[in-house]
Point group: C2
């Protein structure tokens, strides 16, 4: 059983591949650039993207978009997490958070799956946590060094192995929901 | 002579209307929501937008996208100026700029005009200036209270009348180029 993950982000693919493996699913990489629209929610970004990608490759496939939503700054950087990381980096986020007492945040992941012109499914995952006051750890990517998930002894995502992060991350939670749904609904279908 | 400006932003339309008036052009407001893609430059955002809008209204029309590009933070907030203003506001920008000695920035405006499936024209305007250390003035909108254009006696855009701002703003510069081009190339054509 194979699922096609369309992404230009190697790190994301590697995470998804390992999660799939642990669930008995092969995740295949389709390295295709596609457009994302500007929107306030990940769902709004993902829907047209997966439809566009499906029209191009004409095979069942999924895309994923993720973001860090920080409560005291109105959900910033949210759907623009990737651009903000490129321009401001973790240093910029820490600067914005200086003197803020509410440091709660969450990572969200939204998966869009499409296997026909009419059929689009959305799966969500999230993990709550806190923004620390400095960067810690070298694993993972992006905001991982400043994000400490709830209930995990004050460690950041970047202080964990990929396997550990995958055991409860936003992305793994969305992928797990997707795979369970897929096994239940699609496994029996004959595919070309 | 009438030009159709497709925008959901009343302030932008009002600026454009006054600039057009001063050049003997009527700028008409088409209040239509359209999608913008995520991209690193305004040009990349504007091109598919005006094509999409033209396909919908089937009339010659233009869209405009603008952004504030701050040098010491890699051009942030750039094409995402509107989202960043909603979430971080001027307060957030000032926080990011704390202790920064290079405070140079520029406002950019890009206009896309479309009057057939093949014909898309792009016009650019920019104004250089500096990010102040505090907000000043009540005129204008968005980042106007923290941006002081070069050579204008340390005043912010928000300390000027719309007419004064229009006399040298990024948006007026793009609109002027557009109108001049239009008068030269399109005036003689018969329109439906």
């Amino acid at each position: 059983m194979t699922l096609r993950f369309v992404t230009g982000n190697e790190n994301k693919f590697e995470e998804a591949r390992k999660i799939g493996e642990s669930m008995g699913i092969e995740v295949e990489h389709e390295d295709l650039k596609y457009e994302e629209i500007q929107a306030d929610t990940l769902e709004e970004v993902v829907k047209p993207s997966v439809q566009e990608v499906y029209e191009i490759i004409e095979e069942p496939c999924f895309v994923e978009d993720a973001g860090l939503f920080i409560n005291c700054i109105n959900g910033f950087p949210g759907p623009y997490s990737s651009y903000v990381f490129k321009t401001l980096g973790n240093e910029g986020i820490l600067k914005l958070m200086k003197d803020k007492s509410d440091r709660t945040a969450e990572f969200r992941s939204v998966i869009g799956f499409c296997d026909s012109d009419e059929n689009l499914e959305i799966f969500r995952g999230r993990v709550k946590g806190e923004i620390l006051k400095e960067e810690r750890g070298k694993e993972g990517f992006g905001y991982d060094p400043i994000f400490s998930p709830k209930g995990i002894e004050n460690k950041t995502f970047a202080e964990m192995s990929v396997e550990k992060k995958n055991s409860f991350s936003h992305r793994s939670s969305a992928i797990e929901k997707f795979v369970k749904w897929y096994k239940r609904n699609k496994k029996a279908e004959v595919r070309d």
